[in-house]
């Protein structure tokens, strides 16, 4: 059971790969698909590993990804349980 989930705004991504490289549980991988600007956005390959720590959201220079924690199926936003 995953403890968190990530949302990716594909059209805003510039494909720098920071989120894929620095995800502590290796949830993400670069996709081979293109967005409309021609960049390769990341996609979720291991959703069950996501802890919702939002480190991807902190690294993203384009505000294109963010993680959130799941608690009993309800989202608690922004990596912080508040």
């Amino acid at each position: 059971m995953a403890r968190g989930f990530v949302t990716i705004l594909i059209e805003r991504c510039k494909g720098c790969g920071f989120c894929v490289e620095f995800c502590p549980t290796k949830v993400l991988a670069m996709s081979s698909a293109f967005n409309s600007k021609g960049y390769h956005p990341p996609h979720v390959v291991a959703p069950e590993k996501c802890s919702g720590c939002d480190l991807c959201g902190m690294f993203c220079p384009d505000f294109a990804i963010f993680g959130w924690k799941l608690r009993n199926g309800k989202a608690v936003g922004g990596g912080r349980e508040s």
């Binding site: 720098c16 690294f59 220079p61 963010f66 799941l70």
Partner: protein, 294 residues
Amino acid sequence: MIETEDLVEAPPQNPVEPYLRTDRLPHIWCPGCGIGTSLNCFVRALIESKEDLDRLAVVSGIGCSGRVAGYVAFDSFHTTHGRAVPFATGLKLANPALKVVVYSGDGDLFAIGGNHIIHAARRNVDIKVICVNNFLYAMTGGQSGPTTPPSSITTTSPYGGFEPAFNLPHLMDAAGAVYVARWTTFHVRQLTRAMIEILHKPGFCFIEVLSPCPTLYERRNKLGDGLDTMKYYKEKSKIRHGAPTSEVALDKRGEIIVGKFVDRNRPEYLELMRAQHRAQLGDRFVEAPACLCD
């Protein structure tokens, strides 16, 4: 596995988005540039510090990092080249209730604006300076500047630069800043924490943020892309809080000393001015109203 009902209450947007002018996104910064990451940390620091955002002004100069003022949804000021610090000083003195943050680049703050920043640090004006250091003038096409490490190839030094570079924390320490820290865009959590600290600390505070410039610096020096630079930051950074600032100079691909180097207390500019005037003028000195601008 994720059950579909788990996803029903997904947050509708990124937590930093309410603080950004999203109609202007995507921003102009290159893929792999670290300025976006530093801005992300700054916005998160503002959220966590619970500052009154109606009493905050972000001042930027010219350059890639100078665009920050255009992307944040607070009162912001995009000033002339190198003059972000004088504009910020004026803002702070005219309205001392404001929290003034200068967010700009190394070329703007230390090349053309070098004189202003050392005097603001000397006076200990209550402004917070965040300097994104990408080692050259990026927006104008990659010319070498005062922070370019020796033997770096830039458009104006095709055979490698030979000028010694500024050691920014040492310069700011010597000029009298009360808080001097250096982090890289890899250290997102530490950087966010440092930004929260300076928002709460009175006096002239300075953070140097090392950032990749994949298009101009890394590409010309054959150092890979933004991600390779982030990996280099991860590998070669050493955290040494309180390290003597004279020992933290940077070179082209050597070790990076990061951390909080200086954290001290000195009387602030307005405080000194009031004390001096009160001592000299006695009853004739009248305190200005707390805010002239409401």
